[in-house]
Symmetry: C2
């Protein structure tokens, strides 16, 4: 009897982990120019892996920024075609001193793999490569047609991907898109994420005097750039977590009755979460539950700010400059371009006296939702339930994958988000990790999903 | 005919500048522990210079921190005894990249000496040493008895000096104290500073979650440490520059009628100042002139703040920490200890939900005023007018020299502040400098002052 994919995966577990470690060692940090070569190396590694697996037409394809990796296997006649999207780039690692091990020297501790990018997103796309490998090695064929599209700029907002997708529309034509770059709330609680928040970002620079001033000589005489910045930043929210930018909430869609029911099933143990996060209390927009606030309500967050003297001790200086970086998470039907205009209008109206303010825009990504009752969504639910042996829940994700809405707009395909990461795995923070248990179960779930999909017919 | 002090000073100008440059080259930064040896070296250099001049009992005296330099010349029987105070320590230099020349390699450009500490305070105390030198070399004696007390901790709030002064009360007994660590508004507008603002400082640390969080996953669910900090900081002022801390202004003394008249004579060209500082407009506490705001009104300033990601580009992180450093300039009769308690009470009452706040206190210094009509003040006015050939103005300084109030409390002496620095000389900032013209005129003014003082009788 030929080997099953489960047997193959179990037998080759050690080898697969070794290969994953090789992938994780490449510091493919897309946001910092000094890692440009490493990003390319990661693309080349991935292409070679796909070729070894048996995928065809594997190629590292140019863009105006970091390259895209493509490959396909299109011999499942009459079966659906799945486009798998993921990213091989990773977040920066700072603050480095908070990592317990080298972010680019993967380690296994307590049944978790520790490395930058293992959860977001290399571990997850690697599982897709190995799932393909498992079928081709055991069955000689895939249950469905597969195309992979792995980009290197997701962490910087996928600036060149929409143009790439537009340019290669025919190459990328498929019946649905599957993305594994999200998560489940807890280890044994599989979730299908059927929506994502959008994103927009900007930097505010405040300028006072030509240079820093002596706070005795000039203090009281001119506006302090730091004071002006905090006044401006404080104008963005009320004390109950609501964003005060005029028009911000105008286009926000309320949940459907069905969604409200599904959300009620998402039990979050708030006290447990509070302790785990180490905060005195959870906090956010008044009138909404924790789950709603982190998935279906928009936010405006300060990601970083700096002004004046921040070294040891005291320096009686009146800062002449101050800046803050901010991002919004958006929900349907907010438009990131429109929100940025509203933010700029608010900044303009609230700029304190005595300083000048400049605004630089960053990334923009649209929010996204696939209808809950789509057959591809329901098939994914069945795949999870088969492997995890518990009912799957349906959730809308708090994070953003800007390209999802671009796929929707350009390729007009349903998107299925099947993630295996956990919120505790420190994505974007020090000591990022991935549970080995989900590595194993994720591989099987993906394989189960291809089996489920082969029976569906897409119009 | 023996040489006059004016002739001596002119003849030895080049040599004196060379000696000053040697003094300036020593990076005596008191706030940074890695310069501890340099601070000591500056003290030793100063002691040697005083000995060369002919001062007696020159000594580098221990304190719990950086040492104090003492010396005296007490042979002017029946004449007043002057205690000259100054400091040989300097501010840190960051941001270094904004300096046009090495802060510790003095240069003369456009008739100005550029170096850290040349204006605040080494250039000024050096002039005192050379004035003593001029008298002893030309006349063999000083017109008054002189004691010098040069400390190494003024830039960090003189923490050990009050105890030192208390311990050496008899050694430091005198009829008045003269301090050259302040300035005049413009090059040809000599000013006697008869009051100083006090100082207190603190650092606010805000803590949210245990670590930085992914802003998609958690944004909206917990308080953002940066947002909490800006809310707290914004609560300190109204939009018209007034400090909102309860009780802050309670003990502030209004100006006397005589002072109001003297202040009216201090014509500040606000448009010229605005252009010079490069601000869109001057700004401060509503209802008070620029001069009042920078000298007789108290302030609360943010000196620095930082949170989250401040590097290149964007990072969608929800910061778990944020801090700000703040200082107040105080006026009579505000008490720095009391003000710190009021600030802490305000912080406590305004701490936003979902974070914890810790406060660390820094320096404390009392505000100070010598009556305008004191004979020593009037004598200093005559000395300035003799050299500068224009009427002197009387002003209250914006800056703080914390030890002044300690001198008042412990030694019970009138303090005469005769400064020669200019507000444009970048004290506490990059490219600090000192005008050669004031170097020359300052030397002569000090000499003229000793001559004026020798006829006064102190009870």
């Amino acid at each position: 009897m030929p080997q099953t994919y489960q047997q193959y995966l179990q037998e080759h577990r050690e080898q697969h982990l070794k290969e994953l470690f090789d992938f994780l060692k490449i510091p493919s940090i897309s946001s910092l120019s000094e890692y440009k070569e490493d990003v390319r190396n990661a693309a080349e590694w991935l292409k070679a892996e796909l070729e070894k697996t048996g995928m065809e037409h594997a190629e590292v394809m140019k863009t105006k920024g970091h390259p895209v990796v493509y490959a396909d296997w299109l011999h499942a006649d009459g079966k659906p075609t799945v486009l798998i999207y993921g990213h091989y780039d990773v977040q920066p690692v700072d603050p480095l001193n908070l990592w317990e091990s080298d972010p680019f020297q993967p380690e296994i501790r307590d049944d978790k793999i520790y490395a930058r990018g293992v959860s977001d997103d290399k571990g997850q796309i690697f599982m897709h490569v190995k799932a393909i490998d498992a079928f081709l090695q055991t069955d000689g064929k895939l249950p469905v047609n597969i195309k992979v599209l792995f980009e290197g700029e997701e962490e910087i907002g996928s600036p060149h991907l929409p143009a790439f997708v537009e340019e290669h529309k025919d190459l990328l034509a498929a019946d649905l898109i599957v993305i594994s770059d999200t998560g489940m709330p807890e280890k044994d609680k599989p979730t299908i994420c059927y929506g994502l928040r959008g994103l927009c970002g900007l930097q505010i620079n405040v300028k006072g005097a030509t240079s820093d001033l002596h706070s005795g000589e000039y203090g009281g005489g001119v506006q302090n750039a730091a004071t002006a910045l905090v006044e401006l930043l404080a104008s963005f929210h009320d004390r109950d977590g609501k964003v005060l930018v005029e028009g911000f909430y105008d286009k926000v869609e309320e949940l459907t009755a069905e969604e409200k029911e599904a959300f009620a099933k998402l039990q979050v143990d708030e006290e447990k979460l509070r302790k785990q996060l180490g905060v005195p209390e959870l906090f956010g927009e008044k009138g909404y539950s924790y789950t709603e606030r982190t998935s279906v309500r928009p936010t405006l967050e300060i990601n970083g700010m700096q002004s004046g003297f921040t070294g040891e001790g005291l320096k009686t200086v009146l800062p002449s400059e101050a800046f803050a970086k901010m991002t919004c998470r958006l929900v349907p039907k907010q438009d990131p371009y429109e929100i940025l205009e509203l933010l700029k209008k608010h900044i303009h109206a609230h700029t304190p006296k005595g300083v000048t303010v400049t605004v630089t825009e960053f990334d923009k990504g649209y929010p996204y939702v696939t209808p809950l009752d789509h057959p591809a969504i329901q098939a994914a639910g069945r795949a999870y339930e088969k492997v995890y042996q518990v009912p799957v829940t349906y959730t809308r994700g708090g994070g953003s994958i800007p390209i999802v809405a671009a796929f929707d707009n350009i390729l007009k395909l349903p998107v299925v988000l099947m993630g295996f990461a956990l919120p505790t795995e420190n994505a974007h923070a020090p000591n990022e990790h991935f549970h080995l248990e989900n590595f194993g179960k994720g591989l099987e779930t993906i394989c189960a999903y291809w089996n489920e999909l082969q029976t569906l017919i897409f119009s």
